[in-house]
Amino acid sequence: MSHTIFERAGGFASVRRIVSAFYDRVLESEMLQGYFVNTDFATLIDHQTKFIASMMGGPASFPDEVIRRAHLGLGITPREFREMADILKDTLLDHGVVPSDAEQVHAEVLKREPLVVARAA
């Protein structure tokens, strides 16, 4: 049995499709798309690739501090954060990731809520 969800999901060959689908779905979400209007395409893809790979235990490091700084001052609400986490979970399930692994990635993402969600003033 492979050690990481990343490997079990089929390595980068599969994760590439997951990142692509996740990108599409996030930008289709009316709740989330507004955050990406001024984001550079290459930067967004780079971050999503590293983010998803690291959440799946892949060969990426995405330190908490980087996540925190990237979302600083964006005013992201808990609802929006959960929407994103749910989109990721659905994307994983739709790409053949087993439910227990998708749940685990979802839980990993949710743990990072305090880094992403803006604190109420």
């Binding site: 590439r16 893809i45 690739t49």
Partner: protein
């Protein structure tokens, strides 16, 4: 709006316009964006739905394309098409949060004696996305590979501290090593006079720091002369020459290292408060070299030459280097040695022993 309408067509060109319309009419539902452009005034003669989606019409100036094609260097396109039948380039268009990458091929087309440009736009966003992901992923992998390499080098360095390189290579290639017997290896044993008292009386931290300092210098000396440090046990230092690979001048090199160690200590003592005085024994004979242990392995040496070197070291006067007869035979052409007679050596019986005084050309 009606995509097939062609505003601004002058009279007399209706035939062209209708021909264009009928062609583009078929292309209306295609995913490829198509537009027929007049390079003379940059007006769009006709376009299909996909093209309009990527390059929305500016309602104030419905015919002009310069505003719609912001980011595209139209003059360059015209220039290229003056000398070549077609020109291809890529551009990024944004709709809200989403970027689309278009590969655009522009061709000169003739319609009723008029030269127009036909622009074909393919959506290559997914391709671009894959490229970006691959770039991102390969950067991660390269970073990881560099870190792994660094780790590997660190581990290698650590292992080379506890075993000779050839043994390390054997362990790496075969996962195991075989003990080897060396019939004529020379072993050096050194320890310090009164170390136990020193360690108890002085500040232990200082003593250990100084010892560490001295052993580090010894390591450098031993390495300089192509010998191998085997281990240290407390204040004892064990080095060997002629294994794992005999190189001919081994015993001579070990004798040189011993003299260099003694000189190093003399110099150091003249500049430091604490005097470190060593006894050194060197013996030549049979040695078995082997990696010992499974989880915590260490390369160690055994055999008569090892025991004899330890005995000779005990037998040494402070700051002296005592050598056995076999060692003496190997070094006497190049060194000054002094016969100190036959002595009872525990476990070896009565043995002729010598003192290594210095190198022949420059006596001590």
């Amino acid at each position: 709006m009606n995509h097939l309408s062609s505003p601004g067509l002058p009279d007399g060109r209706t035939e062209v316009a209708s021909e264009v319309q009928s062609v583009l009419g078929l292309a209306q539902g295609l995913a490829t964006g198509l537009a027929l452009i007049d390079p003379a005034d940059w007006t769009v003669k006709a376009e299909n739905a996909a093209f309009t989606r990527w390059f929305p019409v500016d309602l104030a100036r419905p015919g002009a394309i310069t505003e719609r094609l912001r980011g595209v260097d139209l003059d360059r396109v015209r220039e290229r098409l003056a000398s070549a039948p077609s020109f291809a380039f890529e551009t990024e268009v944004r709709r809200g949060a989403r970027s689309a990458f278009l590969s655009i091929l522009v061709r000169n087309v003739e319609f009723g004696g008029q030269t127009l440009m036909l622009a074909e736009c393919q959506d290559v966003t997914k391709l671009r996305q894959s490229e970006q992901m691959m770039d991102s992923y390969s950067r991660m992998m390269e970073k990881n590979a560099r870190e792994l390499q660094k780790q590997k080098e660190r581990v290698e360095k650590l292992l080379l501290n506890i075993m000779p390189r050839s043994v390390y290579e054997e362990l790496k290639d075969f996962g195991t090593t075989t003990p080897r017997r060396f019939d004529s290896a020379s072993v050096l044993m050194l320890d310090f006079v009164g170390f136990s008292e020193m360690a108890v009386q002085a500040d232990p931290g200082t003593v250990v720091a100084e010892l560490n300092d001295i052993f580090t210098s010894f390591d450098r000396i031993v390495e300089t002369f192509g010998c191998e440090r085997i281990k240290t046990i407390g204040d004892a230092y064990v080095a060997v020459a002629g294994l794992p690979e005999p190189e001919g001048e081994d015993t001579v090199n070990l004798a040189r290292a011993a003299l260099r160690m003694r000189r190093y200590l003399e110099r150091r003592n003249s500049a430091h408060q604490t005097a470190w005085v060593a006894r050194i024994g060197i013996a030549t004979g049979t040695v078995i070299g082997s990696l010992v242990g499974i989880q915590k392995y260490v390369y160690d040496i055994f055999g008569p030459a090892v025991n004899l070197a330890a005995r000779l070291e005990h037998h040494s006067q402070p700051a002296e280097i005592t050598i056995c007869a076999d060692t003496n035979d190997l070094v006497r052409d190049e060194f000054v040695t002094r016969d100190i007679g036959v002595h009872d050596i525990k476990g070896f019986g009565r043995r002729q022993i010598h003192t290594l005084v210095g190198e022949l050309q420059r006596t001590w």
